[in-house]
């Protein structure tokens, strides 16, 4: 039994690490419990897009705050995490896509947000000369880009340790309960007690919520990614396409990462996900239409990452209504990477003071509450 802990963070993915780090920086004594090792699942399987482009409007305040934080990541974790502001481009391949993008940009501008801009075919070719001509234009955010996921995990982990966070890996949580004002959490044969618990368990977030007596209706996503052999650098921005499953970028290593939300399979037992090559094959058509030269590149690895996903694709961020002292932060539905620094700030607010200046109603756990089952 450990005494004197202020905050227990469950989950050593990037959101857990960020919440733990920023809480510890405010003087809280933090224990982080991770079932495998830091960044084992979604954080290690991500394409690591740093993207405000085409975000749900509810997420934009957090996203734009994060955008500024990514530009000064050294201030937060002592490393730039491989962030490169190469821009993000969302291509319109037909008139319907063009209309949708333009309508969105108009809505954003009406709300006073000018981070996205429409660019025509000429500017697009200038930005992405290796792309097949023919697209009608694109939405573009110059300040967006991508980062190196494993470097980001290393940097957040190291910063956590520096800030005094106790990280316990191979400590899967098996039990948690509240007695009066204190939570008791059992993980990997150790017992921890604190007034506040953060559920940052990603794909396991719903299990933790259920254990805590706050069952939430959250599903699982198994988005697949593929990475190619290395090539000469030729692609600056991250490319996506309106109405198509595509995410295409070149990493600092020269490899190409291709994703876009094509779903893999959950393995029997539910502990990990596997690749569905039939589905991947079908999803190659958009990539090959825009970048036919990738046909000759070798696919080196493919994987599927497990991630919690909600019905409205918005994350669960905020205090539990039914389990006082429990704060949920999971369910990012495949696009949580960019939000790591700002959401960590929000969780630290909540952990420290119980309040935050950020509007969280769209992320409220209550919207996903299911009937409490007998324990």
């Amino acid at each position: 039994m450990r005494a004197g802990t202020d905050l227990i963070v469950i989950g050593g993915g990037l959101h857990g690490l960020s919440a733990a780090l920023q809480s510890a920086r405010r003087g809280l004594r933090v224990v982080l419990l991770e079932g495998a090792f830091t960044g084992r699942h979604a954080s290690g399987a991500t394409a690591a897009g740093v993207r405000s482009l085409n975000r749900a409007v509810e997420e934009l305040p957090l996203s734009l705050e994060a955008q500024a934080q990514w530009e000064d990541m050294i201030a937060l974790v002592g490393d730039d995490c491989g962030f490169h502001a190469g821009g993000q481009v969302q291509v319109a391949m037909d008139t319907e896509a063009e209309a949708r993008i333009k309508a969105r940009i108009a809505r954003l501008e009406a709300a006073g947000m000018r981070h996205e801009q429409w660019i025509g075919p000429d500017r697009l070719t200038e930005l992405v000369p290796v792309m097949q001509p023919g697209a009608l234009g694109a939405a573009y955010v110059a300040r967006d880009g991508s980062a190196d996921p494993h470097r980001t995990i290393r940097a957040f982990r190291a910063a956590c340790l520096d800030a005094g966070v106790e990280i316990l890996e191979n400590h899967p949580v098996t039990w948690l309960a509240r007695d009066g004002s204190l939570w008791t959490v059992v993980a990997g044969g150790t017992t921890h007690v604190a007034p506040t618990v953060v559920n940052a368990a990603g794909a396991w977030g719903r299990q933790i919520a259920k254990l805590a007596g706050d069952p939430l209706d959250v599903g699982i996503k198994n988005s697949m990614m593929i990475v190619t052999e290395r090539c000469e650098p030729c692609l600056g921005p991250v490319i996506s396409a309106q109405n198509r499953k595509l995410s295409f970028k070149q990493t600092a290593d020269g490899t190409f990462l291709i994703g876009g939300g094509v779903q893999g399979r959950l393995r029997p037992g539910g502990g990990s996900a596997s690749v569905d090559f039939g589905a991947l094959s079908g999803a190659m058509s958009t990539t090959l239409a825009l970048f036919p030269w990738v046909a000759d590149l070798r696919l080196v690895r493919a994987w599927a990452g497990m991630e919690a996903a909600t019905a409205d694709l918005l994350p669960v961020i905020g205090p539990s209504h039914r389990a006082p002292g429990l704060i949920h932060v999971f369910g990012f539905s495949g696009h949580g990477f960019q939000l790591v620094p700002s959401v960590g700030r929000v969780i630290a607010d909540l952990a420290e003071t119980g309040r935050t200046r950020t509007e969280l109603s769209a992320f409220d756990p209550g919207r996903l509450a299911t009937n409490r089952k007998a324990a």
């Binding site: 960044g39 593929i226 052999e229 090959l288 046909a295």
Partner: protein, 470 residues
């Protein structure tokens, strides 16, 4: 779409034997193999090289020539043999209609397709144990296996005198073949420990059951001695030095440091089973201390812990070609039994002879394993371990010390094992460095997750899947 009874991956001794036996029971069999012709590694090019008048056949020896007979039976077996087929993914079929089935993703002539089968036999053989040492990535340094491939596929002899360094039957055999075919050998650096005889003695009696193989090995050694070839024993701390190319080698013996100019250095430190397919399918594996490698856990019928998936040949443990034939025959019986075309009683009866043949073929193995242990010398911090990502032993050690003894964690942190070789070149070394850093038995460290594809496949090939030409 045709659903085969059995898909066999690999057309070496085990795959060919199993194909012949399964065809005799009238089962439909597809054999997928990467090579242009049957034979596997041991009998590579056996059909061409054993044609009348081929000078190679004599040089390569009687055991090699035996492969021609097996290849002939295989060709006549009626199995659907598909050479030049690269298998890059195996999945359990999710179709409800099939009681049990598998999908094999394969590329042939740049066209990818999915082949369905009720049972899978992996007869995908072995690979040479990668042993990093300073300079092992320098041009001019090859493995003995690679040199032997050149010999078997085109009769190519290395240019100029070569140094051979390592231990095990293969370097001895290659040296023997090279001399018979007129190649030049500068010297043989034997890395087996000098107390070899003491190590081997307890296993000698058992090995005498396979006295023919022993006699053959002794013959190679005697031939080497008679030829007056320079031979160094107790060799450790090999280094391959030079600039863009190998220029000089350096090594230690108990007598001190020695060096020599060198243009070509061939290395070999034994074989390890090719376990990537079974690892990626999450079959259970066991660590062999004697062979310092993993092997899939198999039941007596050659079936893995995943029902319907069988392994035979060196992929199930390094035992050589004769044992591979026996294992292929046993797996065929096991598969026929699991498909219900052979009753359990008849299968048990049928396997008696196979078990006996396998036991005899394995008789010399404990002796060989003890004579030629995997090298245990410390790997210097500056030595490259992961060739794909150019990571040194020092970098891996540092990462290993930073956290839990988990190869996946070290892989995520360093990228070691993420390159095109998928850890085939570095996996064991990384696991060994982790075991050393955490002072734990090598068997407890495991191996990193193998992510698909098993072999690189181009995106164009991937896109061609399901668009098979009519």
């Amino acid at each position: 779409m045709m659903i085969f009874d059995v898909a066999i991956i690999g057309a070496g001794p085990a795959g060919m034997q199993a194909a012949c036996d399964l065809r005799r029971r009238d089962l439909s069999v597809v054999v997928l193999d990467e090579q242009p012709a049957p034979g596997g590694q041991i009998w590579r090019g056996v059909e061409r090289n054993c044609q009348p008048g081929s000078h190679l056949a004599q040089g390569l020896g009687a055991e090699y020539r035996q492969g021609a007979d097996v290849a002939r039976s295989f060709r006549a077996s009626g199995a659907d043999y598909r050479p030049l087929s690269r298998v890059w993914q195996i999945e359990e079929s999710s179709k409800e209609a099939m009681a049990q089935g598998w999908q094999v993703f394969v590329t042939r002539e740049s066209q990818a397709e999915v082949i369905e089968a009720r049972r899978i036999l992996l007869a995908n053989g072995a690979q040479e144990r990668p042993v990093p040492f300073p300079g092992w990535t320098r041009p001019g340094v090859l493995t003995v296996g690679a040199a032997q491939i050149l010999l078997k596929s085109g009769g190519l002899l290395p240019e100029g005198p070569v140094w051979i360094c390592g231990a095990g039957p293969l370097p001895l055999l290659y040296a023997h073949q090279l001399r018979k075919l007129g190649g030049q050998i500068a010297g043989f650096l034997d890395t087996a420990p000098r107390d070899t005889l003491r190590r081997g003695l307890p296993h000698l009696n058992g090995a005498l059951r396979d006295w023919k193989s022993l006699a053959k090995g002794l013959g190679w050694q005697a031939g080497m001695r008679l030829s007056g070839l320079r031979r160094e024993t107790g060799v450790t701390q090999l280094r391959a030095e030079g600039g863009d190319r190998l220029e000089r080698i350096r090594w230690q013996t108990p007598e001190g440091e020695k060096s020599a100019t060198a243009g070509v250095l061939l290395i070999h430190e034994g074989l390890v089973p090719s376990v990537h397919p079974t690892l990626s399918l999450q079959c259970e594996h066991a660590w062999s201390d004697a062979q310092q490698s993993l092997r899939p856990v198999l039941d007596p019928w050659g079936e893995t812990t995943r029902s319907g998936l069988f392994v035979a040949g060196d992929a199930a443990g390094i035992d050589g070609a004769k044992a591979a034939l026996a294992k292929g025959a046993l797996a065929a019986i096991g598969i026929a039994r699991s498909l219900g075309v052979l009753s359990d009683a008849r299968a048990r009866h049928a396997r008696v002879a196979g078990d006996r043949a396998l036991s005899k073929a394995r008789a010399a193995r404990p002796l060989l394993d003890s004579l030629y242990p995997a090298p245990e010398g410390k790997i210097g911090d500056d030595t490259i371990v992961c060739r794909c990502e150019e990571l040194t032993a020092g970098q891996i050690r540092a990462a290993a010390r930073r956290g839990a003894a988990d190869p996946d964690r070290v892989k995520a942190e360093t990228r070691a094992g993420m390159g095109p070789c998928q850890g085939r070149q570095c996996g064991y070394t990384i696991a060994r460095l982790i075991a050393e850093a955490h002072d734990m038995p090598r068997a407890d460290v495991g191996f990193h997750n193998i992510r698909p594809p098993l072999k690189p496949v181009t995106l164009g090939e991937l896109a061609s899947l399901g668009k098979t030409k009519a």
